[in-house]
Symmetry: C2
Subunit: 251 residues, 2 copies
């Protein structure tokens, strides 16, 4: 009687950046669960029941998906980007973890997607061509001290750094503070790629310097890739091939 | 007269994990350039001329692609995984950087793909659900001291850590040494996901402990995801939903 929960990522929003394996699962689903605006991005027509929910209710959404599957439904939980990166896959796993007896016969599977840092990187060249870190600046679920320690460690060891959830109305000072930490280790002219609404109407991509990065120009839908000391800007090239981190590293 | 170079990633190998945008570009290409075995993975039939090359000649391959495009060809450079992550996108950008006058009218674009760490993560649940780092253990193009410093910084700040190129015939001791560094910061029972030949015939995925990880069982086609202190194993679940890193972090 146990059904199935598949947690999928649509990628950044463009239908042609969504895996065929994901499209296939969306077409087979009896129920789609997700944040309302993400359900609106589903790139195929399907007769599945839709269960849109608000933002920031990941745990409720995960329990709802598992409960539907426990009744036999073929549920797809829809994330944008990669569901495994700061998204719904962890929330579903956590719900399994908290109620181990309840979902024994529900099959749970995750299908990956293109995450925002990859989408942004591909828009400007190859800034993630060498060792990198991915850090969420949201201190809703972790203490700010942990974030600052990670920023400092990553910058000190000269990683390229992708920053997710850089700021929001409720978290207005975090990016300023993060830039302050990064600037202890990185030169003013360090290139930073700034991507907004990637793959969606209103997409904007720019490369600025760390010194010129204006937090007022960054919102919750923005992702940043901060270069390492070796990341290079090709001034003579169009934006799509203007930034890269060499494969070779000389210390 | 300038043609185009598109650097694409096929993902880990399965046709249904390759972006439709990549398939479309492969179908339009006049010339395909890449490491021979990757060209064999191209998931569509195309009449394009094929230019297979050996492994570890990335710079030659990049120059070749740009030279073909300078003559007007529509060239696709084929990587596995994401071409922007330790792959051909940086090599092509580097070739542009080294000969800035030669390729002014060649359009260069990168399309992303599912990289090995994402593929592995999705096979076991959601180990990349919290801040993580991606590190190549290859010291062919960077000094080992840099790698060790990064491993130590990432482990010290409690990142989840994905390890690429963990070892090869020519680099037999690197993974042993890396595990030694990680174990200074991580408990013996830290879970490690081990993926081989992901998305290809002979795929193997396992979750072991850091103490039990056997470097003899790891080759160049293996990727590893080492958990943070908060990564959890669900012993009662099948492999596909057995490992995750919670979104919440309490220090």
């Amino acid at each position: 009687m146990g059904g199935r929960v598949t947690v999928v990522g649509l990628g950044p929003g463009r239908a042609d950046w969504c895996l065929p394996a994901v499209t296939e699962r969306l077409l087979a689903a009896t129920d789609l669960v997700g944040y309302g605006p993400y359900l609106d991005l589903v790139p195929v027509a399907t007769a599945a029941r839709r269960h849109p929910s608000d933002n920031r209710v990941e745990a409720d959404r995960a329990r709802h998906a598992l409960a539907l599957a426990a009744e036999g439904a073929d549920v797809v939980v829809v994330s944008s980007g990669d569901p495994g990166v700061f998204a719904m896959a962890s929330a579903v796993m956590e719900a399994l973890d908290r109620a181990p007896g309840d979902h024994g016969d529900v099959e749970v599977e995750v299908l990956p997607g293109i995450t925002a840092a990859q989408a942004l990187a591909s828009r400007v060249g190859a800034p993630l061509g060498h060792d990198f870190c991915v850090i969420s600046l949201s201190d809703v679920l972790k203490p700010w001290e942990v974030i600052e320690r990670r920023l400092s460690a990553a910058a000190g060891a000269d990683f390229v750094i992708a920053l997710y959830n850089p700021q929001s109305r409720h978290r207005p000072w975090q990016l300023d503070r993060a830039v302050e930490v990064l600037r202890r280790h990185r030169a003013d002219e360090t290139p930073v790629a700034v991507g907004k609404q990637l793959g969606r109407p209103g997409e904007s991509v720019r490369v600025v310097t760390l010194a010129a990065l204006d937090p007022a120009d960054v919102d919750m839908g923005t992702v940043l890739v901060v270069g390492s000391s070796t990341t290079r800007v090709l001034a003579h090239r169009p934006l799509a091939s203007s930034l890269y981190t060499p494969r070779r590293y000389e210390s």
